[in-house]
């Protein structure tokens, strides 16, 4: 008995060490120089936690075959599942192209939620076996199980919707009744009802399974219903929020298993996700509620729409003209948006920037916080093309510089540089911080069409005196320009 207690103590110490590694890891992840190390430390923390847990389970005999029922070696299966999971995770992480990063972050996130959901559900057969309610182990236990299932399931299906939307496989905001706010309220009520029944009242196998099955089903549907209305361009907020949910779900399993490490790690992730969510909302000058309700409506965004908005004074341009304009410029700022990601034109921007730098031109990139489909999307995309991060400027740091800039090239971005945000108080995006690209001497907007972005509003930038429209796919446009520039 003593041996077991001291083993538990050792494992608790290991858990403490791994909590510390997580905290320090996240701290280091926040600085460019130490980020890689921070990620490693967090991974060490995880390895330590897993190793210590396995040690404890083996030492306590938890993994011994259960007389009469466990006809198999549970540890062999557990380790098998771990190896298989690691192999799949590794394979996916190595294979995924950088441009598909947003959807894969969403996908991995969903699996984290799924794991929490299953851990919560695993308490149900145990209650069935004991013939007691879940709350027999304490009201806090029953509530923790309910929350783990709800939040875990919402994270799972919510992330899958985000994945499908980001991968361009889904652009509906409703599927039948799913996606309407009224139906979400109904689903929420079903979840709470089933959760209370299953946690506090059901003690017979039938009742426990039916109530918790209903809870699971309701929560899975709720995850779909909550995420469907969120428009593609609002995905940075949705992903950050779902990331937070997966942490909170993990945290609730800490209250089920009475394990501090799960609470620490889960709430760290929950907190970081909430902060990112706030940053993203602020960058759009919208409240979280507004984003979640999907107030902006749904459209492909980034220039994928179809109708021209009756612009009258648009001046079109071509690769030849753009090359000439850039050749004469001594300072150029690129403004990337989702269109750049769609066209996968990041390497072409880098190539063009290299040519310009060789001609003694100063090249910078202005990154709006919500450009793209996840927080920091453009930064990752440009980093993949070896753009030095010193050339990437945030909105606050570059907005005053546009007026001293010869040429701004907007690449597949729209609403993040719409003057209506500052000029028109009635505009839906009024007050949203935007890149004031129109202050530059010349603005060239590379865009597939004149259609409006996700916000569905006109962009007066397109017909300003100093702006030229280059209506083409970003990659094609850049290729043309590079060819022409080389010929000059």
């Amino acid at each position: 008995m003593l041996g077991m207690i001291s083993m538990k103590g050792v494992v608790e110490l290991a858990y403490m060490a791994s909590s510390l590694l997580f905290i320090l890891g996240i701290l280091k992840l926040g600085k460019v120089k130490t980020a890689k190390q921070g990620n490693l430390w967090a991974a060490y923390g995880m390895a330590l936690a897993i190793g210590a847990t396995m040690l404890l389970l083996i030492a306590r005999g938890d993994w011994n075959p259960r007389p009469g029922e466990w006809a198999y070696q549970s540890h062999a299966l557990a380790i098998g599942a771990m190896v298989l999971g690691s192999a799949i995770g590794w394979w996916m992480a190595v294979k995924v192209p950088m441009t598909s990063m947003p959807e894969f972050v969403a996908f991995f996130n969903g699996l984290g939620g799924a794991a929490s959901m299953f851990v919560g559900l695993a308490e149900v057969p145990r209650a069935v076996e004991r013939g007691q309610t879940l709350s027999a182990e304490g009201a806090d236990f029953a509530i923790a199980v309910m929350l783990a299932v709800i939040i875990g399931a919402v994270t799972l299906t919510g992330s899958l919707v985000a994945y499908a939307k980001l991968a361009g496989k889904l652009n509906k905001s409703r599927i039948g009744p799913l996606g309407s706010q009224g139906f979400n309220i109904v689903l929420g009520a079903v979840c709470v009802g089933a959760g209370v029944w299953g946690g506090f009242f059901a003690a017979d196998p039938m009742g426990l399974w039916v109530s918790n099955g209903l809870l699971t089903l309701g929560s899975l549907l709720l995850g779909l219903g909550l995420t469907l209305p969120i428009g593609g361009a609002d995905m940075p907020v949705a992903i950050a929020l779902l990331n937070s949910y997966s942490g909170i779900a993990g945290m609730t399993t800490g209250f089920i298993l009475r394990n501090n490490l799960l609470i620490v790690a889960g709430s760290l992730v929950g907190a970081s996700g909430i902060i990112l969510t706030q940053i993203m909302c602020k960058a759009m000058n919208r409240s979280l509620t507004n984003v979640l309700v999907g107030g902006m409506g749904e459209s492909a965004g980034g220039g994928g729409g179809s109708k021209d908005e009756g612009y009258t004074k648009v001046k079109s341009t071509s690769g030849e003209e753009l090359a000439a304009v850039l050749d004469a410029a001594s300072s150029v700022i690129f403004v990337p948006g989702y269109g750049l990601a769609v066209a996968q034109a990041q390497h072409k921007v880098r190539e063009l920037a290299g040519l310009l730098e060789k001609r003694g031109c100063q090249v910078r990139y202005a990154i709006h916080p919500v450009a793209g489909r996840m927080p920091g999307h453009m930064n990752i995309l440009l980093a993949e093309a070896d753009v030095p991060y010193e050339q990437l400027y945030e909105l606050d740091r570059i907005n005053d510089d546009f007026k001293n800039t010869d040429v701004v090239v907007v690449l597949g971005a729209n609403d993040v540089c719409n003057p209506a945000a500052t000029n028109d108080p009635k505009s839906p995006i009024a007050g949203m911080p935007v890149l004031t690209v129109w202050d530059a001497r010349t603005v060239v907007v590379v865009k597939r069409s004149l259609a409006s972005g996700y916000a569905g509003i006109r962009n007066e930038l397109f017909q300003m005196d100093n702006s030229l429209m280059f209506l083409a796919d970003a990659k094609k446009a850049l290729e043309d320009t590079i060819t022409e520039l080389k010929a000059l």
Binding site: K31, S74, M101, I367, I380
Partner: protein, 121 residues
């Protein structure tokens, strides 16, 4: 950080007081809520000023940490749990492990793109 330290000191004081008086164990719920409170605070403090360049890696790195449920799911494949719970536990292990390994490896790949450039400079 100062605010955090002050709160942490207060919390430690408050948490230790009842233990000393009752000389018994606090129910886990109370301990857990303390841990939760402080961790959320640490989380907020630690992540306040992250440059936008690191938003994606931070997200996918913390996403991997949320796979900590792997620890929880390992317990579910123990002899305290019946067979059907063990099966749920095995699925949880599989999901969590994909999340953990995939998350850390993908983050490392992304950050590699930053540091590779730093090296060239």
């Amino acid at each position: 950080m100062n605010l955090f330290l002050a709160v942490a000191a207060q919390a430690a004081e408050a948490a230790s007081a009842p233990v000393a008086q009752e000389s018994g164990n606090l129910p886990f719920l109370i301990v857990g809520l303390w841990v939760l409170l402080l961790s959320v605070f640490v989380g907020f403090e630690v992540i306040q000023k992250v440059p936008p360049t690191l938003h994606t890696p931070l997200m996918s790195g913390s996403n991997a940490i949320s796979g900590i449920t792997i620890v929880g799911s390992l317990y579910c494949v123990g002899k305290d749990y019946p067979l059907s719970a063990g099966i749920l536990g095995l699925i949880a292990i599989l999901c969590a492990m994909i999340n953990v390994v995939g998350g850390f490896v993908v983050t490392d790949r992304m950050l590699g793109m930053f540091s590779a450039k730093g090296g060239k400079k």
